[in-house]
Symmetry: C2
Subunit: 260 residues, 2 copies
Amino acid sequence: MMNETVVMIGAGRVATHLAQALRERAGLRLVQVYSRTEEHARALAERSGDAVWTTSAEAVRTDADVYVFSLSDDALAGVARRVPANDGLWLHTAGSVPMNVFRGRARRYGVLYPLQTFSRDRSVDFRRVPCFVEGCTAEVTDEVRTLAKRLSDEVHELSSVDRAYLHLAAVFACNFTNHMYALADGIVRARGIDGSVLRPLIDETAAKIHRLTPREAQTGPALRNDRAVLNRQAAMIIDPDVKRLYEEISRGIYAERLKS
Amino acid sequence: MMNETVVMIGAGRVATHLAQALRERAGLRLVQVYSRTEEHARALAERSGDAVWTTSAEAVRTDADVYVFSLSDDALAGVARRVPANDGLWLHTAGSVPMNVFRGRARRYGVLYPLQTFSRDRSVDFRRVPCFVEGCTAEVTDEVRTLAKRLSDEVHELSSVDRAYLHLAAVFACNFTNHMYALADGIVRARGIDGSVLRPLIDETAAKIHRLTPREAQTGPALRNDRAVLNRQAAMIIDPDVKRLYEEISRGIYAERLKS
């Protein structure tokens, strides 16, 4: 296994975390990094032993075993068209891009979607990152699954269509959740209160749904449809967009309750 | 300290958790429980040693040291009017009710607001629950602070007005966040995927803001204003209310980014 080689196409957060896991956990050797941005390509190559870097998709070498495309969704198809055809296993890591973006460009291709949010300065234990795999044939799917299992203890096969829904759910669970944190932080900061007082509440909110469904875990004035509090709170919000969000999410919480 | 007595007015989740902490951490003796609902009053009294229970606010005894009102916001003022006047320290635990709900009813009164979400079946380490206190005089404030410090390592003095904003922030950080989990869970469940695959992502989203501000922690298509993904995802959502939320929260994330 130790002589398997990988080329990273992309050098952003997902690429950087995945490259590290591919080296340290799966034992692959990173031989080349492509990024449109020289600084990013060089930074990832330098932290990866003897890898070289390039800013030219056409200069990607053709003799590697695995090609991992970790690019923004809109860049992916264009770069995939410019990388020279080869016999390697082509994988992308995007939630909302169908596997067949590689069709006609590679013979063996698939998807390895790690469902996690990656930050520049936080290391992530890849064993605990659910990885969703897909391959262009049953044989390739097996190959991708085998590779993913060297990274993570939680590997699932998933179609491109279902992966798109999973990605949509991840936007709610991560980005939208984080936006709720940002709005909460803004409200307390405007009163001179440090946003860190909210952390135990945020932690417990996340911890609760390990035991309860989100519907069971819900509390608060919207769930009780406590109009006095709801009206008083809405009136405290100055930003009209945030006020509308407050009202719509409160309605949504109550609507969810009525369904049960 | 061990002979201090407390009456709980209310027997819901906050009352139950707080009663336990007042007994086990602060060493108070719970002597009586009032709840409009006999079943709740009896349940809390029974798990609290030799406390008696009542469903009549007028029957609340007058010789206790501390009276803790843990009621829904709209019930609080009415019950406070019916509890017989006495010389005890009256406290409520509500985020959005001003301290002066007790004015004219008690001589020594204040607020002890624990900022946490409590579930029936999850125990909470009260030492880590930020508690926000207020008193009708400087002397009473000291009394409430002293009591709160026997429960929690994190006690802050806060005015009624600021507490209302903190409660509003808590609604975003907890209830609205949990609604995002519920929507995410609904999206994956509709595809036959178990919602538990989202948990590592949810946990990491919460953990990130211990190191980064929510604004720094943000990722995803809305932040990049990646229109192709945003349009594709919006089109996948059937429920018009959820679709509108998707679009408004996405706009909010991008607007937050433009502010920086």
